[in-house]
Protein backbone atom coordinates (compact mmCIF):
# COMPACT_ATOMS: atom_id res chain seq x y z
CA UNK A 1 0.00 0.00 0.00
CA UNK A 2 1.33 3.44 -0.89
CA UNK A 3 2.46 5.82 1.79
CA UNK A 4 1.84 8.87 -0.37
CA UNK A 5 -0.08 11.53 1.50
CA UNK A 6 -3.71 11.65 0.53
CA UNK A 7 -4.53 14.99 -1.06
CA UNK A 8 -6.64 16.44 1.72
CA UNK A 9 -8.30 19.04 -0.44
CA UNK A 10 -10.19 16.10 -1.95
CA UNK A 11 -13.85 16.29 -0.94
CA UNK A 12 -13.89 13.18 1.19
CA UNK A 13 -11.59 10.32 2.11
CA UNK A 14 -14.68 8.37 3.07
CA UNK A 15 -16.10 8.72 -0.42
CA UNK A 16 -12.73 7.90 -2.02
CA UNK A 17 -12.82 4.48 -0.31
CA UNK A 18 -15.44 3.54 -2.89
CA UNK A 19 -13.37 4.74 -5.87
CA UNK A 20 -12.71 2.44 -8.84
CA UNK A 21 -9.04 3.46 -8.85
CA UNK A 22 -7.33 1.02 -6.45
CA UNK A 23 -4.35 3.36 -5.85
CA UNK A 24 -6.73 6.13 -4.81
CA UNK A 25 -8.61 3.70 -2.57
CA UNK A 26 -5.37 2.68 -0.86
CA UNK A 27 -4.25 6.25 -0.30
CA UNK A 28 -7.66 7.12 1.11
CA UNK A 29 -7.48 4.14 3.43
CA UNK A 30 -4.00 5.18 4.56
CA UNK A 31 -5.27 8.67 5.40
CA UNK A 32 -8.12 7.14 7.34
CA UNK A 33 -5.81 4.90 9.35
CA UNK A 34 -3.53 7.84 10.07
CA UNK A 35 -6.45 9.78 11.54
CA UNK A 36 -8.01 6.96 13.51
CA UNK A 37 -5.40 4.47 14.68
CA UNK A 38 -4.50 6.28 17.89
CA UNK A 39 -8.13 6.66 19.06
CA UNK A 40 -8.77 3.00 18.15
CA UNK A 41 -5.66 1.79 19.99
CA UNK A 42 -6.51 3.76 23.14
CA UNK A 43 -10.15 2.69 22.92
CA UNK A 44 -9.15 -0.98 22.77
CA UNK A 45 -6.77 -0.53 25.68
CA UNK A 46 -9.33 1.13 27.96
CA UNK A 47 -12.74 -0.03 26.74
CA UNK A 48 -11.71 -3.61 26.03
CA UNK A 49 -8.97 -3.64 28.68
CA UNK A 50 -6.38 -5.15 26.36
CA UNK A 51 -2.71 -5.32 27.21
CA UNK A 52 -0.47 -3.02 25.13
CA UNK A 53 0.77 -5.71 22.77
CA UNK A 54 -2.73 -7.17 22.33
CA UNK A 55 -4.17 -3.72 21.66
CA UNK A 56 -1.48 -3.07 19.06
CA UNK A 57 -2.18 -6.41 17.40
CA UNK A 58 -5.93 -5.77 17.52
CA UNK A 59 -5.55 -2.28 16.03
CA UNK A 60 -3.45 -3.66 13.20
CA UNK A 61 -5.83 -6.54 12.75
CA UNK A 62 -8.87 -4.29 12.72
CA UNK A 63 -7.56 -1.97 10.02
CA UNK A 64 -6.09 -4.84 8.04
CA UNK A 65 -9.37 -6.67 8.01
CA UNK A 66 -11.35 -3.48 7.38
CA UNK A 67 -9.28 -2.90 4.25
CA UNK A 68 -9.45 -6.49 3.10
CA UNK A 69 -13.19 -6.87 3.63
CA UNK A 70 -14.07 -3.28 2.74
CA UNK A 71 -15.87 -2.60 6.03
CA UNK A 72 -16.01 1.12 5.46
CA UNK A 73 -17.54 0.92 2.02
CA UNK A 74 -20.76 -0.07 3.78
CA UNK A 75 -20.90 3.25 5.63
CA UNK A 76 -24.21 5.07 5.10
CA UNK A 77 -23.92 8.78 5.94
CA UNK A 78 -27.69 9.01 6.40
CA UNK A 79 -27.58 6.70 9.41
CA UNK A 80 -24.61 7.89 11.48
CA UNK A 81 -21.40 9.86 11.51
CA UNK A 82 -18.40 8.00 10.13
CA UNK A 83 -16.65 8.28 13.50
CA UNK A 84 -19.56 6.55 15.23
CA UNK A 85 -19.73 3.91 12.49
CA UNK A 86 -16.02 3.16 12.83
CA UNK A 87 -16.25 2.81 16.60
CA UNK A 88 -19.15 0.39 16.19
CA UNK A 89 -17.02 -1.62 13.75
CA UNK A 90 -14.21 -1.72 16.32
CA UNK A 91 -16.60 -3.02 18.98
CA UNK A 92 -17.93 -5.69 16.65
CA UNK A 93 -14.41 -6.70 15.64
CA UNK A 94 -13.18 -6.89 19.24
CA UNK A 95 -16.24 -8.84 20.38
CA UNK A 96 -15.92 -11.34 17.53
CA UNK A 97 -12.23 -11.84 18.13
CA UNK A 98 -12.73 -12.32 21.83
CA UNK A 99 -15.49 -14.81 21.25
CA UNK A 100 -13.60 -16.73 18.59
CA UNK A 101 -10.26 -17.10 20.33
CA UNK A 102 -10.78 -15.91 23.89
CA UNK A 103 -7.99 -13.52 23.16
CA UNK A 104 -7.53 -10.86 20.55
CA UNK A 105 -4.95 -11.72 18.01
CA UNK A 106 -3.59 -10.39 14.81
CA UNK A 107 -6.23 -10.42 12.07
CA UNK A 108 -5.42 -13.72 10.37
CA UNK A 109 -4.24 -13.31 6.82
CA UNK A 110 -5.35 -9.71 6.65
CA UNK A 111 -2.92 -7.07 5.42
CA UNK A 112 -0.53 -5.93 8.12
CA UNK A 113 -0.66 -2.33 9.23
CA UNK A 114 2.51 -1.04 10.82
CA UNK A 115 1.92 1.24 13.81
CA UNK A 116 4.16 2.90 16.33
CA UNK A 117 2.15 2.57 19.53
CA UNK A 118 4.85 3.79 21.90
CA UNK A 119 3.64 7.37 22.11
CA UNK A 120 -0.02 6.38 22.15
CA UNK A 121 0.75 4.05 25.02
CA UNK A 122 2.59 6.80 26.88
CA UNK A 123 -0.47 9.05 26.60
CA UNK A 124 -2.70 6.58 28.42
CA UNK A 125 -0.08 5.07 30.72
CA UNK A 126 -1.76 6.43 33.83
CA UNK A 127 -5.28 6.91 32.48
CA UNK A 128 -8.30 5.46 34.23
CA UNK A 129 -11.02 3.94 32.03
CA UNK A 130 -13.47 6.78 31.34
CA UNK A 131 -17.17 6.69 32.27
CA UNK A 132 -18.33 7.57 28.79
CA UNK A 133 -16.45 5.78 26.02
CA UNK A 134 -18.24 7.60 23.24
CA UNK A 135 -16.97 10.91 24.57
CA UNK A 136 -13.57 9.39 25.15
CA UNK A 137 -13.34 8.18 21.56
CA UNK A 138 -14.51 11.59 20.30
CA UNK A 139 -11.91 13.39 22.42
CA UNK A 140 -9.14 11.08 21.19
CA UNK A 141 -10.28 11.70 17.63
CA UNK A 142 -9.97 15.46 18.23
CA UNK A 143 -6.52 14.89 19.70
CA UNK A 144 -5.47 12.86 16.64
CA UNK A 145 -6.80 15.53 14.23
CA UNK A 146 -5.07 18.36 16.10
CA UNK A 147 -1.80 16.43 16.45
CA UNK A 148 -1.67 15.60 12.75
CA UNK A 149 -2.62 19.19 11.88
CA UNK A 150 0.20 20.57 14.02
CA UNK A 151 2.60 18.25 12.23
CA UNK A 152 1.35 19.34 8.83
CA UNK A 153 1.53 22.99 9.87
CA UNK A 154 5.16 22.52 10.90
CA UNK A 155 5.99 20.89 7.58
CA UNK A 156 4.25 23.64 5.63
CA UNK A 157 6.03 26.38 7.59
CA UNK A 158 9.37 24.70 7.05
CA UNK A 159 8.62 24.29 3.36
CA UNK A 160 7.80 27.97 3.03
CA UNK A 161 10.82 29.08 5.03
CA UNK A 162 8.52 30.26 7.83
CA UNK A 163 10.15 28.41 10.69
CA UNK A 164 9.95 31.50 12.88
CA UNK A 165 6.18 31.60 12.30
CA UNK A 166 5.89 28.06 13.58
CA UNK A 167 8.17 28.77 16.51
CA UNK A 168 5.96 31.66 17.63
CA UNK A 169 2.87 29.46 17.25
CA UNK A 170 4.51 26.63 19.18
CA UNK A 171 5.63 28.95 21.98
CA UNK A 172 2.15 30.43 22.39
CA UNK A 173 -0.18 27.57 21.68
CA UNK A 174 1.78 24.36 22.26
CA UNK A 175 4.23 25.02 25.06
CA UNK A 176 3.51 23.27 28.33
CA UNK A 177 4.13 24.45 31.85
CA UNK A 178 3.36 27.56 33.88
CA UNK A 179 5.81 29.80 31.98
CA UNK A 180 3.92 29.22 28.72
CA UNK A 181 1.09 31.51 29.80
CA UNK A 182 3.38 34.33 30.89
CA UNK A 183 4.81 34.87 27.43
CA UNK A 184 4.34 38.42 26.14
CA UNK A 185 4.41 39.52 22.51
CA UNK A 186 7.06 42.13 23.33
CA UNK A 187 9.24 39.61 25.19
CA UNK A 188 9.09 37.13 22.36
CA UNK A 189 9.74 39.87 19.78
CA UNK A 190 12.86 40.89 21.66
CA UNK A 191 14.01 37.28 21.97
CA UNK A 192 13.54 36.56 18.27
CA UNK A 193 14.76 39.92 16.99
CA UNK A 194 11.36 40.90 15.60
CA UNK A 195 8.97 43.78 16.17
CA UNK A 196 5.90 43.22 18.32
CA UNK A 197 3.60 43.71 15.35
CA UNK A 198 5.56 41.09 13.39
CA UNK A 199 5.00 38.62 16.23
CA UNK A 200 1.25 39.32 16.35
CA UNK A 201 0.92 39.18 12.56
CA UNK A 202 2.90 35.94 12.23
CA UNK A 203 0.95 34.37 15.07
CA UNK A 204 -2.39 35.37 13.56
CA UNK A 205 -1.38 34.07 10.13
CA UNK A 206 -0.14 30.76 11.52
CA UNK A 207 -3.25 30.26 13.62
CA UNK A 208 -5.36 30.95 10.53
CA UNK A 209 -3.37 28.37 8.58
CA UNK A 210 -3.73 25.87 11.43
CA UNK A 211 -7.48 26.38 11.45
CA UNK A 212 -7.56 25.85 7.68
CA UNK A 213 -5.61 22.58 7.97
CA UNK A 214 -7.89 21.29 10.74
CA UNK A 215 -11.00 22.05 8.69
CA UNK A 216 -9.51 20.47 5.57
CA UNK A 217 -8.79 17.31 7.52
CA UNK A 218 -12.25 17.15 9.05
CA UNK A 219 -13.83 17.74 5.66
CA UNK A 220 -11.74 14.92 4.21
CA UNK A 221 -12.82 12.55 6.97
CA UNK A 222 -16.54 13.17 6.62
CA UNK A 223 -18.94 12.17 3.90
CA UNK A 224 -21.52 14.96 3.82
CA UNK A 225 -21.75 18.69 4.56
CA UNK A 226 -24.04 17.98 7.49
CA UNK A 227 -21.58 15.48 8.98
CA UNK A 228 -18.75 17.97 8.44
CA UNK A 229 -20.62 20.70 10.33
CA UNK A 230 -21.54 18.31 13.15
CA UNK A 231 -17.92 17.24 13.52
CA UNK A 232 -16.66 20.83 13.45
CA UNK A 233 -19.19 21.74 16.12
CA UNK A 234 -17.94 18.90 18.33
CA UNK A 235 -14.32 19.66 17.51
CA UNK A 236 -14.60 23.23 18.74
CA UNK A 237 -17.03 22.51 21.56
CA UNK A 238 -15.49 19.33 22.93
CA UNK A 239 -15.46 20.23 26.59
CA UNK A 240 -18.52 22.44 26.76
Amino acid sequence: MSDAAFPLTRPSVVEALKADDSALRERAFGALVEAYWRPVYKYLRLRWRLLPQDAEDATQGFFGRAFEREYFVRFDARRARFRTFLRTCVDAFAANERQATQRLKRGGGAEHVSLDCTTAEAEIAHAEPPDDFERFFAREWVRAIFSASVDELRQRCEGQGHTVHFEIFARYDLAEGPDARKLSYAGLASELGLTTSQVTNYLAATRREFRGIVLERVRALTATDAEFRDEVRDLFGFDE
Binding site: T119, V142, L174, E176, R208, R229, D239
Partner: protein, 330 residues
Protein backbone atom coordinates in the same frame (compact mmCIF):
# COMPACT_ATOMS: atom_id res chain seq x y z
CA UNK B 1 0.98 -0.69 5.08
CA UNK B 2 3.03 1.75 7.12
CA UNK B 3 1.31 4.73 8.62
CA UNK B 4 3.41 7.91 8.83
CA UNK B 5 4.32 8.48 12.44
CA UNK B 6 2.62 11.50 13.91
CA UNK B 7 4.03 13.63 16.72
CA UNK B 8 3.44 12.69 20.33
CA UNK B 9 -0.10 13.36 21.45
CA UNK B 10 -1.13 16.72 22.80
CA UNK B 11 -2.13 17.23 26.40
CA UNK B 12 -5.72 18.19 27.26
CA UNK B 13 -4.51 21.70 28.10
CA UNK B 14 -2.75 22.02 24.73
CA UNK B 15 -5.89 20.77 22.99
CA UNK B 16 -7.98 23.53 24.60
CA UNK B 17 -5.42 26.20 23.75
CA UNK B 18 -5.18 25.04 20.16
CA UNK B 19 -8.95 24.98 19.88
CA UNK B 20 -9.17 28.49 21.29
CA UNK B 21 -6.39 29.68 18.98
CA UNK B 22 -7.95 28.09 15.91
CA UNK B 23 -11.38 29.59 16.43
CA UNK B 24 -10.26 33.06 17.55
CA UNK B 25 -11.91 35.49 15.11
CA UNK B 26 -9.81 38.07 13.30
CA UNK B 27 -12.07 40.94 12.32
CA UNK B 28 -10.69 44.03 10.60
CA UNK B 29 -8.31 45.43 13.28
CA UNK B 30 -9.18 48.98 12.30
CA UNK B 31 -12.74 48.27 13.43
CA UNK B 32 -12.79 45.57 16.14
CA UNK B 33 -10.30 44.29 18.68
CA UNK B 34 -11.27 40.91 20.16
CA UNK B 35 -10.79 40.94 23.94
CA UNK B 36 -12.07 37.65 25.38
CA UNK B 37 -14.46 34.79 24.74
CA UNK B 38 -17.61 35.12 26.84
CA UNK B 39 -19.64 32.18 25.61
CA UNK B 40 -19.67 29.20 23.34
CA UNK B 41 -22.50 27.19 21.87
CA UNK B 42 -22.92 24.35 19.44
CA UNK B 43 -22.83 26.60 16.39
CA UNK B 44 -20.37 29.29 17.37
CA UNK B 45 -18.84 31.46 20.03
CA UNK B 46 -19.44 34.94 21.41
CA UNK B 47 -16.57 37.31 22.22
CA UNK B 48 -16.30 40.62 23.96
CA UNK B 49 -14.72 42.97 21.45
CA UNK B 50 -13.73 46.62 21.41
CA UNK B 51 -15.34 48.72 18.70
CA UNK B 52 -12.29 50.84 17.83
CA UNK B 53 -14.26 53.47 15.92
CA UNK B 54 -17.05 54.04 18.40
CA UNK B 55 -14.88 53.27 21.43
CA UNK B 56 -17.31 50.92 23.12
CA UNK B 57 -17.39 47.20 23.94
CA UNK B 58 -19.70 44.99 21.92
CA UNK B 59 -20.53 41.28 21.72
CA UNK B 60 -19.21 39.63 18.57
CA UNK B 61 -20.88 36.38 17.57
CA UNK B 62 -19.10 34.14 15.07
CA UNK B 63 -19.74 30.64 13.72
CA UNK B 64 -17.40 27.66 13.98
CA UNK B 65 -17.75 27.01 10.25
CA UNK B 66 -17.34 29.32 7.27
CA UNK B 67 -19.89 30.95 5.03
CA UNK B 68 -20.03 27.71 3.03
CA UNK B 69 -21.53 26.11 6.10
CA UNK B 70 -24.90 25.88 4.36
CA UNK B 71 -27.93 26.49 6.51
CA UNK B 72 -25.80 27.17 9.61
CA UNK B 73 -24.25 30.26 8.02
CA UNK B 74 -27.63 31.25 6.63
CA UNK B 75 -29.06 31.01 10.11
CA UNK B 76 -26.54 33.47 11.52
CA UNK B 77 -27.42 35.93 8.79
CA UNK B 78 -31.06 35.28 9.48
CA UNK B 79 -30.55 35.83 13.20
CA UNK B 80 -28.85 39.18 12.58
CA UNK B 81 -31.59 40.30 10.21
CA UNK B 82 -34.33 39.08 12.50
CA UNK B 83 -32.81 40.99 15.42
CA UNK B 84 -32.43 44.07 13.27
CA UNK B 85 -36.15 43.89 12.46
CA UNK B 86 -37.23 43.33 16.05
CA UNK B 87 -36.58 46.62 17.76
CA UNK B 88 -37.75 45.99 21.31
CA UNK B 89 -36.20 46.71 24.73
CA UNK B 90 -36.29 42.99 25.47
CA UNK B 91 -34.34 42.01 22.35
CA UNK B 92 -30.61 42.76 22.01
CA UNK B 93 -29.99 45.21 19.15
CA UNK B 94 -27.60 44.31 16.32
CA UNK B 95 -24.91 46.83 15.37
CA UNK B 96 -23.08 45.29 12.44
CA UNK B 97 -22.88 42.18 10.28
CA UNK B 98 -20.04 40.88 8.10
CA UNK B 99 -17.73 38.06 7.05
CA UNK B 100 -14.28 37.42 8.54
CA UNK B 101 -11.23 36.95 6.33
CA UNK B 102 -11.47 33.17 6.82
CA UNK B 103 -15.04 33.14 5.50
CA UNK B 104 -16.89 32.87 8.80
CA UNK B 105 -19.93 35.13 9.09
CA UNK B 106 -20.25 37.28 12.21
CA UNK B 107 -22.35 40.01 13.67
CA UNK B 108 -21.89 42.39 16.54
CA UNK B 109 -24.57 43.38 19.02
CA UNK B 110 -24.98 45.27 22.24
CA UNK B 111 -22.89 43.75 25.02
CA UNK B 112 -25.41 42.66 27.63
CA UNK B 113 -24.22 42.70 31.20
CA UNK B 114 -26.64 40.92 33.44
CA UNK B 115 -27.51 37.74 35.26
CA UNK B 116 -28.71 34.33 34.04
CA UNK B 117 -32.38 33.73 34.72
CA UNK B 118 -31.80 30.90 37.20
CA UNK B 119 -29.63 33.12 39.41
CA UNK B 120 -32.40 35.72 39.57
CA UNK B 121 -35.37 33.45 40.23
CA UNK B 122 -33.90 31.04 42.75
CA UNK B 123 -35.60 31.40 46.15
CA UNK B 124 -38.00 34.16 45.06
CA UNK B 125 -41.73 34.07 45.90
CA UNK B 126 -44.19 32.82 43.30
CA UNK B 127 -45.81 36.20 42.65
CA UNK B 128 -42.42 37.79 41.82
CA UNK B 129 -41.71 35.00 39.37
CA UNK B 130 -45.06 35.41 37.66
CA UNK B 131 -44.41 39.14 37.23
CA UNK B 132 -40.94 38.38 35.84
CA UNK B 133 -42.40 35.75 33.54
CA UNK B 134 -44.95 38.20 32.16
CA UNK B 135 -42.04 40.48 31.25
CA UNK B 136 -40.26 37.61 29.46
CA UNK B 137 -43.45 37.24 27.43
CA UNK B 138 -43.30 40.88 26.27
CA UNK B 139 -40.49 40.56 23.67
CA UNK B 140 -41.90 37.17 22.69
CA UNK B 141 -45.33 38.71 22.13
CA UNK B 142 -43.72 41.47 20.08
CA UNK B 143 -41.89 38.90 17.93
CA UNK B 144 -45.09 36.90 17.45
CA UNK B 145 -46.91 40.06 16.36
CA UNK B 146 -44.19 40.48 13.70
CA UNK B 147 -44.53 36.88 12.53
CA UNK B 148 -41.31 35.59 14.15
CA UNK B 149 -41.13 32.33 16.13
CA UNK B 150 -38.09 31.97 18.43
CA UNK B 151 -38.07 28.13 18.58
CA UNK B 152 -35.49 27.86 21.37
CA UNK B 153 -36.96 29.47 24.47
CA UNK B 154 -35.22 28.10 27.57
CA UNK B 155 -33.68 29.47 30.78
CA UNK B 156 -30.21 29.81 29.24
CA UNK B 157 -31.63 32.16 26.60
CA UNK B 158 -33.13 34.61 29.08
CA UNK B 159 -31.02 37.18 30.86
CA UNK B 160 -31.91 39.85 33.39
CA UNK B 161 -29.93 43.03 32.81
CA UNK B 162 -28.28 45.23 35.40
CA UNK B 163 -31.29 47.58 35.42
CA UNK B 164 -33.75 44.71 35.82
CA UNK B 165 -34.59 44.61 32.15
CA UNK B 166 -35.46 41.19 30.75
CA UNK B 167 -33.76 40.09 27.53
CA UNK B 168 -34.56 37.11 25.32
CA UNK B 169 -31.36 35.96 23.59
CA UNK B 170 -30.22 33.62 20.83
CA UNK B 171 -32.61 34.00 17.93
CA UNK B 172 -30.32 31.78 15.82
CA UNK B 173 -32.97 29.19 15.03
CA UNK B 174 -35.92 31.57 14.85
CA UNK B 175 -38.16 31.41 11.82
CA UNK B 176 -40.65 33.61 10.10
CA UNK B 177 -44.11 32.18 10.46
CA UNK B 178 -44.80 32.46 6.75
CA UNK B 179 -43.01 33.05 3.48
CA UNK B 180 -44.94 36.29 3.21
CA UNK B 181 -43.55 37.55 6.53
CA UNK B 182 -40.06 36.68 5.36
CA UNK B 183 -40.67 38.44 2.07
CA UNK B 184 -41.98 41.52 3.86
CA UNK B 185 -38.78 41.54 5.90
CA UNK B 186 -36.77 41.42 2.66
CA UNK B 187 -35.09 38.15 3.65
CA UNK B 188 -33.81 35.71 1.06
CA UNK B 189 -35.82 32.50 1.15
CA UNK B 190 -32.79 30.44 2.14
CA UNK B 191 -32.20 32.62 5.17
CA UNK B 192 -35.79 32.95 6.19
CA UNK B 193 -35.84 29.88 8.39
CA UNK B 194 -38.82 28.61 6.42
CA UNK B 195 -36.68 26.13 4.57
CA UNK B 196 -35.75 23.87 7.46
CA UNK B 197 -38.14 21.39 5.88
CA UNK B 198 -39.83 18.37 7.30
CA UNK B 199 -37.58 16.32 9.55
CA UNK B 200 -35.22 19.12 10.58
CA UNK B 201 -35.30 19.40 14.38
CA UNK B 202 -34.15 22.63 15.97
CA UNK B 203 -34.59 23.63 19.60
CA UNK B 204 -33.82 22.08 22.96
CA UNK B 205 -35.24 18.81 24.27
CA UNK B 206 -37.30 19.34 27.38
CA UNK B 207 -38.49 22.74 26.19
CA UNK B 208 -39.54 22.23 22.59
CA UNK B 209 -43.14 21.53 21.60
CA UNK B 210 -44.07 18.02 20.41
CA UNK B 211 -44.62 19.16 16.82
CA UNK B 212 -41.17 20.80 16.88
CA UNK B 213 -39.53 17.66 18.31
CA UNK B 214 -41.11 15.65 15.48
CA UNK B 215 -39.48 17.95 12.95
CA UNK B 216 -42.90 19.02 11.71
CA UNK B 217 -41.59 22.51 10.96
CA UNK B 218 -44.54 23.45 8.74
CA UNK B 219 -46.76 23.38 11.83
CA UNK B 220 -44.37 25.19 14.16
CA UNK B 221 -45.76 28.63 14.90
CA UNK B 222 -46.17 30.97 17.87
CA UNK B 223 -47.92 28.19 19.77
CA UNK B 224 -44.66 26.20 19.81
CA UNK B 225 -43.08 29.15 21.65
CA UNK B 226 -46.09 29.16 24.01
CA UNK B 227 -45.29 25.54 24.85
CA UNK B 228 -41.64 26.43 25.54
CA UNK B 229 -42.73 29.40 27.66
CA UNK B 230 -44.97 27.04 29.64
CA UNK B 231 -42.01 24.75 30.27
CA UNK B 232 -39.89 27.76 31.17
CA UNK B 233 -42.48 28.92 33.72
CA UNK B 234 -42.62 25.39 35.18
CA UNK B 235 -38.85 25.50 35.57
CA UNK B 236 -38.94 28.95 37.19
CA UNK B 237 -41.63 27.88 39.67
CA UNK B 238 -39.57 24.84 40.63
CA UNK B 239 -36.92 27.27 41.95
CA UNK B 240 -39.42 29.41 43.86
CA UNK B 241 -39.47 29.73 47.61
CA UNK B 242 -43.26 29.30 47.50
CA UNK B 243 -44.49 25.75 47.85
CA UNK B 244 -47.72 24.54 46.27
CA UNK B 245 -49.50 25.86 43.23
CA UNK B 246 -52.98 27.38 42.98
CA UNK B 247 -55.33 25.54 40.61
CA UNK B 248 -55.65 28.44 38.14
CA UNK B 249 -51.85 28.50 37.79
CA UNK B 250 -51.78 24.75 37.18
CA UNK B 251 -54.47 25.26 34.56
CA UNK B 252 -52.41 27.99 32.84
CA UNK B 253 -49.42 25.65 32.69
CA UNK B 254 -51.55 22.77 31.40
CA UNK B 255 -53.04 24.96 28.70
CA UNK B 256 -49.67 26.38 27.64
CA UNK B 257 -48.07 22.93 27.44
CA UNK B 258 -50.94 21.06 25.80
CA UNK B 259 -49.81 18.41 23.34
CA UNK B 260 -52.19 19.76 20.72
CA UNK B 261 -51.20 23.25 19.50
CA UNK B 262 -54.88 24.17 19.06
CA UNK B 263 -55.46 23.67 22.79
CA UNK B 264 -52.70 26.18 23.74
CA UNK B 265 -52.77 29.96 23.94
CA UNK B 266 -52.50 31.47 20.48
CA UNK B 267 -49.35 33.41 21.30
CA UNK B 268 -47.18 34.83 24.09
CA UNK B 269 -49.47 37.83 24.55
CA UNK B 270 -52.49 35.62 25.31
CA UNK B 271 -50.41 33.61 27.78
CA UNK B 272 -49.06 36.74 29.47
CA UNK B 273 -52.56 38.18 29.80
CA UNK B 274 -53.77 35.09 31.64
CA UNK B 275 -50.79 35.25 33.99
CA UNK B 276 -51.50 38.93 34.66
CA UNK B 277 -55.15 38.09 35.32
CA UNK B 278 -54.02 35.57 37.90
CA UNK B 279 -51.80 38.19 39.56
CA UNK B 280 -54.70 40.65 39.61
CA UNK B 281 -57.00 37.96 41.10
CA UNK B 282 -59.17 38.09 37.99
CA UNK B 283 -60.73 35.00 36.40
CA UNK B 284 -58.18 33.26 34.18
CA UNK B 285 -59.14 31.98 30.77
CA UNK B 286 -57.60 28.56 31.34
CA UNK B 287 -59.60 27.61 34.42
CA UNK B 288 -63.34 27.16 35.06
CA UNK B 289 -63.67 27.98 38.75
CA UNK B 290 -66.31 26.69 41.21
CA UNK B 291 -68.38 28.86 43.56
CA UNK B 292 -65.93 28.63 46.45
CA UNK B 293 -62.94 29.51 44.25
CA UNK B 294 -64.86 32.42 42.76
CA UNK B 295 -65.76 33.70 46.24
CA UNK B 296 -62.18 33.41 47.48
CA UNK B 297 -60.83 35.08 44.33
CA UNK B 298 -63.32 37.95 44.65
CA UNK B 299 -62.34 38.26 48.30
CA UNK B 300 -58.65 38.48 47.36
CA UNK B 301 -59.34 40.92 44.57
CA UNK B 302 -61.55 43.21 46.68
CA UNK B 303 -59.99 42.45 50.01
CA UNK B 304 -59.97 46.06 51.24
CA UNK B 305 -63.55 46.71 50.26
CA UNK B 306 -64.71 43.40 51.74
CA UNK B 307 -62.91 44.12 54.99
CA UNK B 308 -64.37 47.64 55.16
CA UNK B 309 -67.90 46.34 54.58
CA UNK B 310 -67.34 43.57 57.10
CA UNK B 311 -66.05 46.07 59.66
CA UNK B 312 -69.02 48.34 59.00
CA UNK B 313 -71.46 45.45 59.40
CA UNK B 314 -69.74 44.35 62.58
CA UNK B 315 -69.96 47.84 64.06
CA UNK B 316 -73.62 48.05 63.08
CA UNK B 317 -74.24 44.69 64.72
CA UNK B 318 -72.52 45.76 67.92
CA UNK B 319 -74.52 48.98 67.94
CA UNK B 320 -77.75 47.11 67.41
CA UNK B 321 -76.95 44.70 70.22
CA UNK B 322 -75.94 47.59 72.48
CA UNK B 323 -79.12 49.49 71.67
CA UNK B 324 -81.17 46.37 72.28
CA UNK B 325 -79.54 45.87 75.67
CA UNK B 326 -79.83 49.50 76.78
CA UNK B 327 -83.37 50.17 75.51
CA UNK B 328 -86.01 50.69 78.24
CA UNK B 329 -87.46 47.34 79.21
CA UNK B 330 -84.62 45.58 77.34
Amino acid sequence: MTVPSSPPGLSDDALRRLRDAAELPEPDPSRYLVLERIGRGGMGAVYRARDVLLKRDVALKVLHVGADGGDVAARLTQEARTLARLEHPGIVPVHDVGVLADGRPFYTMKLVQGHPLDDVVRGRPQADLLRLFSRICEPMAFAHSRGVVHRDVKPQNVMVGEFGEVLVLDWGVSKWASARDAHDAALPAAAAGIDTGAGAVVGTRGYMAPEQARGDSANVDSRADVYSLGMLLTHMLSLSSTRGMPRPLSAILRKATSVEPAARYADAEALAKDVLRLLAAERVQAHRENFLEQTLRLYRRHRTLVLLVAAYLLVRLILLLWQANTAPGG
